[in-house]
């Protein structure tokens, strides 16, 4: 008994010591520190969010390796990060500490990051190539006259529709919101819903509705989305018909519901096009979100990802060199990045024109929608504003009075905006 308990005590202490030691080892082999690789003078840490497409991680690592080959003094430590929903949160957290990455991806660009001095201006990275970039993107990434990020791809989101199902139901591709509601209703049958815009039944639709009525979210230093009370009020009709698919296994950004026939129309990104094509052949088409009424305009959301440099990085010059090399000069790699894994539009207009995949069919149509109807969030838009706006729209969909609900949310968003600009 004595021997055993002494043994177990020693074992207990020994084990805990062992694991303390183990954790120290684990700490020192921390991902941030690993790539003091093969004799490079400078190691840049670069964060990506987790792309869903196979091969993306290998691709960015390959680009980094090619860069190091061309510039032996600079190694890149690629950190493949969290998925979209958590990436920004964690990036923000990291930017507070000392282990912040030198280069990082940004999904929704936040002007406040530039104004608070977290981002390095990149005008010199663009240089003369600036005029070759998509004008809408440049405007989006410019804060107080300086460019703070470089777009690596454009993602256009469009309305996919099943041609055969529309034909069977006797409806034409909708060109107004009323037609969309009507089509969704007629397309709803046993086992198939008319429209899928997100598992929550909201998705991006509040933005699209506002824009399609000709109302923006922010105008100058004023939040103005409550002017779109009429169109956003339309969500209630859409939901009242029970023609909207809710609670599917995958969300709107995955073509699963559309491909499996759970919905006849789905709001999704261009990135899903190869998967849809593989599943449905040519039995589908793409549309922008229809104009709210005859006076409105058709819109599509323009998203995508950018790269930015941390202003407090110790290696700003090297980081700039890398961004310029990859995202300004290496057009082959840009095309590879855009179309070899997922399906995105290269950010430089000329490069996009050279990409053969955008020469025909639905892809060509989507590229057209991107230039003619594409719209980005305002750079002053924040997650809090988004949360407030979406919550208000969700309340409207549930039956709350549109004007009053949106007004309230707008006042809150205005306070946020005022805080940013002081």
């Amino acid at each position: 008994m004595t021997a055993r308990s002494a043994l177990s005590r020693r074992g207990f202490l020994g084990t805990s010591m062992l694991f303390v030691a183990g954790s120290v080892v684990a700490c020192s082999s921390d991902p941030q520190g690993t790539a003091a690789a093969n004799g490079a003078d400078v190691t840049l840490t670069q964060w990506y969010h987790q792309y869903g497409e196979e091969g993306t991680q290998a691709a960015v690592k390959r680009y980094a390796a090619e860069f190091t080959e061309a510039h032996p003094g600079i190694a890149i430590n690629v950190v493949w990060g969290a998925d979209v929903s958590q990436y920004e949160t964690k990036l923000n957290a990291a930017l507070l500490g000392d282990d912040a990455p030198d280069i990082f991806e940004l999904g929704d660009f936040r002007a406040e990051m530039a104004r608070k001095g977290q981002l390095e201006p990149l005008d010199d990275v663009y240089g003369a190539a600036k005029s070759g970039f998509n004008k809408a993107d440049l405007d989006y990434l410019t804060v107080d006259g300086k460019l703070y990020a470089i777009k690596t791809m454009d993602d256009i989101m469009v309305l996919y529709y099943r041609k055969s199902l529309l034909k069977k139901a006797g409806v034409t591709p909708p060109s107004t919101f009323a037609e969309l509601t009507d089509a969704a209703k007629k397309l709803t049958s046993d086992g198939t819903k008319g429209l899928f815009i997100g598992n929550d039944g909201i998705g991006d639709s509040p933005y699209l509705l506002a824009w399609s009525e000709g109302v923006d979210l922010i105008d100058g230093d004023k939040v103005v989305y409550a002017d779109a009370a009429r169109s956003i009020g339309g969500l209630r009709d859409l939901h009242a018909d029970k023609s909207v698919l809710l609670g599917f296994t995958t969300d709107w950004y995955d073509p699963g519901a559309f491909n499996q026939g759970a919905a006849a129309m789905q709001w999704c990104g261009l990135w899903a096009l190869p998967a849809v094509e593989k599943e449905l052949g040519d039995d589908f088409g793409v549309l922008p979100w229809p104009a709210y009424d005859k006076k409105g305009r058709a819109v599509a959301r323009l998203g995508g990802w950018s790269q930015a440099i941390h202003a407090r990085s110790k290696h700003v010059a090297e980081a700039k060199k890398y961004l310029e090399w990859l995202w300004v000069k290496q057009t082959d790699l840009q095309i590879d990045w855009a179309v070899k894994y997922g399906f995105h539009v290269p950010a430089q207009t000329e490069v996009a024109a050279k990409t053969p995949e955008f020469g025909k069919g639905a892809a060509k149509e989507a590229a057209r929608i991107s230039t003619e109807h594409g719209k980005s969030f305002p750079a002053e838009w924040t997650q809090a504003m988004q949360a407030g706006f979406i919550a208000a729209a969700a309340a409207v969909a549930k039956g709350a009075a549109p004007a009053r609900t949106l007004d309230k949310a707008q006042a809150k968003a205005q306070a946020d905006l005022d805080k940013q600009t002081v």
């Binding site: 308990s5 002494a6 177990s8 005590r9 207990f12 202490l13 084990t15 805990s16 694991f19 303390v20 183990g22 954790s23 684990a26 700490c27 921390d30 991902p31 941030q32 964060w47 987790q50 792309y51 869903g52 497409e53 196979e54 991680q57 950190v79 493949w80 990060g81 969290a82 998925d83 979209v84 929903s85 958590q86 949160t89 964690k90 990036l91 957290a93 990291a94 507070l96 500490g97 000392d98 282990d99 296994t249 995958t250 950004y253 995955d254 699963g256």
Partner: protein, 301 residues
């Protein structure tokens, strides 16, 4: 199973007291116990349904899972769902399991040891200012853990702990509640042990190390088991601290199944099985300690 909770209800009956001899009562008891068993079986079945669903789905193919025709069992057992978990380079599931294991295995003994040390000192070593120290430790219990997540994040972040193993582990090592439990445990500790040790010339630390610790193994095992469970299942803290998938815990990896762009249902369920398996096994094997730990921490609060 020797825990007191298993003690059969064969209480000593006062002499001369007989069971009431009425037949109706006897019938009532019989009926009552049949009903009790029936109810218990039913409730246990309901309680176990989620486990069944989980296992069933984890061994099916996607079409089987999403099929509208109900199937009690998978057509064939698709173990490849489990192996598939570990060869996806985009989601380092094996690594996240390893991380969770390291965190739990470090946290459980170290946190319990720290609590035991402080608990012993507070109970048995009379020094001036002891009450103040006790108050300082108990004081942290007034503010709920979940509310301190933000301040703690601020501190750990400013110390460069974001995305590091120590950042994940360190804040969980200091459990004031366990200190209180250990303190009351050591308060009722027989004093003879220490006296004997002191007479033999052991220092206070020597007494603690050689006599007290070996005599607290039951207590340490119980609280250590609870601490292990907490560390394994914790979500909010690792969610905030770990950015790089290499520092994900298994809970975070699991939640990433839901938000990733394409959902592989059977793999998601297989991942859930793997994530809960260690604790389920632990519950089955070390139930005595866990039950005691729960009962202790609940009743002493």
């Amino acid at each position: 199973m020797t825990s007191t909770l298993d003690a059969p209800r064969t209480a000593p009956r006062p002499a001369g007291v007989k069971r009431p001899p009425r037949a109706s009562r006897l019938r009532g008891t019989l009926l009552g116990s049949v009903l009790t068993y029936l109810a218990l079986c039913l409730l246990a079945a309901v309680c176990l349904i989620p486990f069944y669903m989980l296992l069933r789905n984890a061994l099916m193919t996607t079409p089987e899972v999403t099929s509208t025709d109900w199937q009690w069992l998978p057509g064939a057992l698709h173990w490849e769902n489990f192996t598939g978990l570990f060869d996806n380079p985009e989601r380092p599931f094996g690594r996240s399991l390893m991380n969770s294991l390291i965190i739990a295995v470090v946290t459980a003994p170290v946190a319990t040891l720290f609590a035991s040390m402080a608990g012993y000192a507070l109970a048995r070593i009379a020094v001036p200012g002891r009450a103040v120290v006790l108050a300082l430790i108990v004081g942290t219990l007034m503010i709920p853990q979940a509310v301190t997540f933000l301040p703690t994040f601020v501190v750990v972040g400013s110390m460069g702990g974001v995305n590091t193993m120590w950042g994940l582990i360190a804040p969980g090592l200091f459990n004031a509640f366990a200190v209180v439990l250990f303190r009351s445990f050591y308060l009722s500790f027989p004093a003879e042990i220490e006296e004997a040790g002191r007479l033999d010339g052991l220092s206070h630390l020597g007494v603690y190390r050689r006599l007290i610790l070996p005599n607290s193994t039951t207590m340490i095992a119980s609280l250590g088991a609870l601490s292990f469970i907490d560390a394994w299942n914790s979500f909010l803290w690792p969610l905030m601290i770990g950015q790089d998938p290499n520092s994900w815990t298994v809970q975070i990896a699991l939640s990433s199944f839901l938000t990733s762009q394409t959902v592989d249902l059977p793999e998601l369920f297989a991942g859930t099985v793997v994530a809960i398996l260690p604790l389920v096994i632990m519950f089955l094997v070390a139930q005595r300690h866990i039950v005691q730990g729960i009962a202790m921490s609940g009743l002493k609060s």
